[in-house]
Symmetry: C2
Subunit: 246 residues, 2 copies
DNA sequence: CGTGTGCTTGAATACGATCAAATGCGGTGG
DNA sequence: CCACCGCATTTGATCGTATTCAAGCACACG
């Protein structure tokens, strides 16, 4: 029953980039939260649904994705604990994509109404959530550039750079190594590649001594080299610390 | 000196999807606006900049884009009159991409402070702008799916469907024909394709009798066929009318 | 009537997809 | 402990789509 802990993680994330007053912080920590468990590979919310709740990722890895006509999947974003990936459902009625788990996950269900009361009462809270959605849009832009204009090796490297940077920002990595609980088909679907091709190029990256990746454990062996291959510049993540990291 | 007209267009767009009270509408119409002219192909705001203003597109076609290491460009979004493509700069200090003109354009410069006073005083105004940025994110997702998982012809068709739908929504098209002031290299850069390949596949679409495109005039000859090729479903644009159109 | 810009076309090449199969590995049950 | 199963990863071969390079064309504009 770690509800408080999960909300704290949310607040910590918001406060990293948006100032909150102590009353606002308290109100956020008092949000009603119903925890729900999901197995890996299951949908939390599906395309076309209209919900009255939003979902705080408490544990596990969650993604947005769409399926195209011929059955191919495009993963659109990855969401770590502390994210509310469907906060947009506050203002946009209908889901235009799916939200699903990549690992077993715990999700905190929060009624829209509870959030709406806060965003309408405290403009700083509204701005904090708004800002999160804007950073997400910045990540979309970066992914779009990758899928549209970067080579396969560069995209793979970029995913690693971004993932470990985000994990580090929420304290789940030391910046050198972290869990990467994605199968290769999932990585391929995030990058707009086929599994086979992704596997072959990943092998090259490994053989070039840039990373190690085994049984969902990612280790960066050559951060500079990896960033160079990826043309990774963490500015687009708009993390306060990330710029200093460089 | 059509400042009022341009602000009205903004308000009309916001009100299509977000309810506003008459006082809020009036406040928006009273926003200070300094008009500025740009030639085609010039930057309005560049990557790395920190501005104290945002830009209302008054006339012309504007886009976001990024340039990658080898000089290739990815166009990330298109912006029609009534858009404020850099409203995010209210909350995110640094531009992570460029904002440039595709045609000659008139842009209304609005100080952040003026907007911020409104969004902080009237939660409906904040929500209206927030919602616009969320719809933009939905469009990013759709583009990402296209670039990552759709064939070249499908992507081209999708661009046409989306563009004419958006133009129709703001009254600049009858749904059958409209201006499409993009060169083929620009279309290619929006779709993550090379100019040559884009040209060849466009030819096929034309020969299939789906569209006519000459001297920046787009005419839809077979809307159903085009939508089918594009797998276009306007739901993601979250326009109130669009769903009924289908 | 020449010139430039954007469009079109062809040929060669490369990158990534698809198809098919083998390998490795963790977990389960004999 | 070992055999087997299922899943993820790896590999090879072939095919197709898209890129690159290079040239020619067409129309608007001076």
């Amino acid at each position: 029953m770690d509800k408080d802990h999960y909300l704290e993680r949310l607040v910590r994330k918001l406060e990293t980039n948006s100032p909150l007053q102590s009353e606002e912080r308290d109100q956020l920590l008092r949000l009603p939260l119903v925890l729900k468990q999901f197995e890996a590979g299951h949908d939390i919310v599906s395309e076309g649904e209209r919900t009255k709740n939003c979902c705080l990722v408490a544990e596990g890895l969650v993604c947005r994705y769409k399926i195209v006509g011929d059955g191919q999947r495009q993963i659109l974003s990855l969401h770590l604990p502390g994210d509310i990936p469907d906060i947009h459902s506050l203002l946009i009625e209908q889901m235009d994509h799916n939200l699903g788990t990549l690992t077993a996950a715990t999700v905190g269900i929060i009624p829209h109404e509870a959030v709406r009361i806060l965003t309408r009462s405290y403009y700083r809270i509204a701005e904090a959530f708004w800002r999160e959605t804007l950073v997400e849009a910045a990540i979309y832009r970066e992914w779009m550039v990758g899928i549209g204009r970067r080579s396969a090796p560069s995209r793979i490297a970029h995913l690693f750079c971004e993932f470990i940077t985000k994990m580090t920002a929420i304290g789940l990595s030391d910046g050198k190594t972290c869990e990467l609980p994605l199968t290769q088909p999932e990585i391929a679907d995030a990058l707009g590649l086929s599994t086979v091709h992704m596997n072959k190029k990943l092998r090259e990256i490994r053989q070039a001594g840039l990373v190690r990746l085994r049984s969902n454990k990612l280790t960066i062996l050559d951060w500079k080299g990896l960033c160079q291959l990826a043309e990774f510049d963490p500015d687009y993540l708009h993390l306060r610390e990330a710029s200093s990291k460089k």
